[in-house]
Symmetry: C2
Subunit: 282 residues, 2 copies
DNA sequence: GCATTTCTTGTAAATTTTTTACATAATTCA
DNA sequence: TGAATTATGTAAAAAATTTACAAGAAATGC
């Protein structure tokens, strides 16, 4: 019924439109973000046509009326915030680049949310719950993610460790028991040393969960691949959003495990909390 | 400005609402998908209240009026298909909590984006650019943030270190030169050991940038406070979103520094990139 | 426990916004 | 070029939203 991509429909319908309706179409495509806050009179004026023409345009693109049209447009724009150009330039003000950093991060997260393979997540959660030991391997920016993950899972009463040193990884990998889990984290998906460690894990009978971009060697090599295709900012600084994307996925795994472990955990966490409070001041 | 996750806002605001407004809130949360196609009369009737009450409800949750409210709701639903009526399947609960993690993270980020004190960010960037050394201190979950930050700033050709050990922090703090910068990261804002380290830094003439919730001792004690009030998930696990919020702020700082350092950096980063590629496979 | 004040909520009116009806202008085709 | 057709705008009607206000409920003080 409702076209998923309204702007697409508008482009497609364009040739069938009358001259003044086309003016409306062009204006909408040029400034879709502005349109969703406009009244019909504003849009009519700005497009240089009369109000009924706007209504006729809305009907022509398959909507029931103007309100209906705005709603559909708003929905489309909500799912692709990238409509507003996100790229930090030299001349950006503090406010601008702050917004851009947040917006692009949010954008990455929303896209990732909808592209995650749920069955792999479930498999990963199940594997983690069954493991005696859970370890996190990562280098560079992924090392910080690994340590964060370790901290988080440790709190969930899971024996976990994080290694960012290939020697330590190798040593630990060879001592794993069948069923133990290693989560290999890589933003590039192509780190040779990590692949080597993964090989050792698999030889020990361990299960490797890979957090890496799809189609990369690490995603292929993992027993359970959680593919994370965060749009890399190739500019000034590397793994920015992708790192946060990885953390979010770790969070999802942690929640999944927490849910599975159930209420036994609650008591433990409360205890932990009271222990921590002695380190804090009022 | 506009709440990203309207339903979240509605839940949060619920306690402040009057009885009949709450009826509207409950109805909206129960059937959000239906509401976006309703007129104000329909919603009023179905919720069992009068039309002005609906308008008052819309205002109470931060919208300008009913239309505005519907628009915001539509936008959220467009980006959270989980709200759509989907038959309960085996994968559904996974889907649900996955969405919750992402949605609440996004929510936190957007709220933070609009509440950051820009002038403090600018002051922080300026301080970092002037420093000979930049160090990151944090414990627990904030330790991972500190290491991530260290990694990021190191790439920007800034002599940086990260310590999550109070002894190392103290030793390093006493050896700082005036003008050097320490970024103290705390999700609680009340870690005693961190406050002690900060005191030492200040005695050495160093500048302390504090990343902590507003109104906390660490925020007060810092020379430049960047207040981060991420809604803590009191549930199963602690610092979840707040940790990502801290990372995002670090990103903003890094961008700010990168921008100030200007193009001289570009060449350096390219060099770095080619160096890294030897560690990766094709 | 009653009177007074304050806060809630609905009714009805006013305003705003959208849509329809119709007339005029523009275009097409013979 | 002129009749027919289509396109567009004007103005009025309808619909929807918002405001003003009054009645009712709850809370507070005496």
């Amino acid at each position: 019924m409702k076209p998923a991509q309204l702007t697409q429909t508008i482009s497609d319908t364009m040739i069938d439109l009358r001259k003044s309706e086309r003016k409306v179409a062009e204006f909408v495509l040029k400034e879709p973000l502005g349109v969703i806050r406009m009244r019909i009179v504003d849009l009519a004026q700005q497009a240089g046509v009369s109000e009924p023409t706007v209504v006729r345009f809305c009907r022509a693109v398959g909507c029931h009326g103007f309100q209906d049209f705005k709603l559909a447009l708003a929905q489309q724009l909500a799912s692709s915030p990238s409509y507003g150009q996100i790229a930090v330039t030299d001349t950006d003000s503090t406010r601008e680049y702050t917004h851009k950093v947040f917006d692009s991060t949010v954008d990455t997260l929303l896209k990732l949310r909808d592209s995650l393979a749920l069955e792999n997540l479930e498999a990963a959660v199940a594997a983690i719950c069954n493991a005696q030991r859970v370890e996190f391997y990562g280098f560079g920016a992924s090392a910080a993610v690994a340590f964060d993950a370790q901290h988080k899972f440790f709190r969930l009463q899971i024996t976990s460790a994080a290694y960012s040193d290939p020697h330590l990884q190798n040593m630990s990998a060879t001592s794993l028991q069948p069923g133990d889990v290693v989560i290999a984290i890589s933003q590039s998906g192509r780190t040779q040393a990590l692949l080597d460690s993964m090989e050792l894990v698999k030889r020990s009978g361990g299960i490797v969960i890979g957090l890496a971009p799809s189609g990369t060697p690490i995603a292929h090599s993992a027993n359970i691949a959680i593919e994370i295709d965060a749009k890399e900012d190739i500019q000034i600084y590397t793994p920015l959003s992708s790192r946060i994307a990885h953390l979010a996925v770790i969070d999802v795994l942690a929640i999944g495990v927490a849910q599975k472990k159930g209420p036994q955990l609650q008591a433990h966490l409360q205890q932990l909390q009271s222990g921590l409070s002695s380190l804090r001041i009022d």
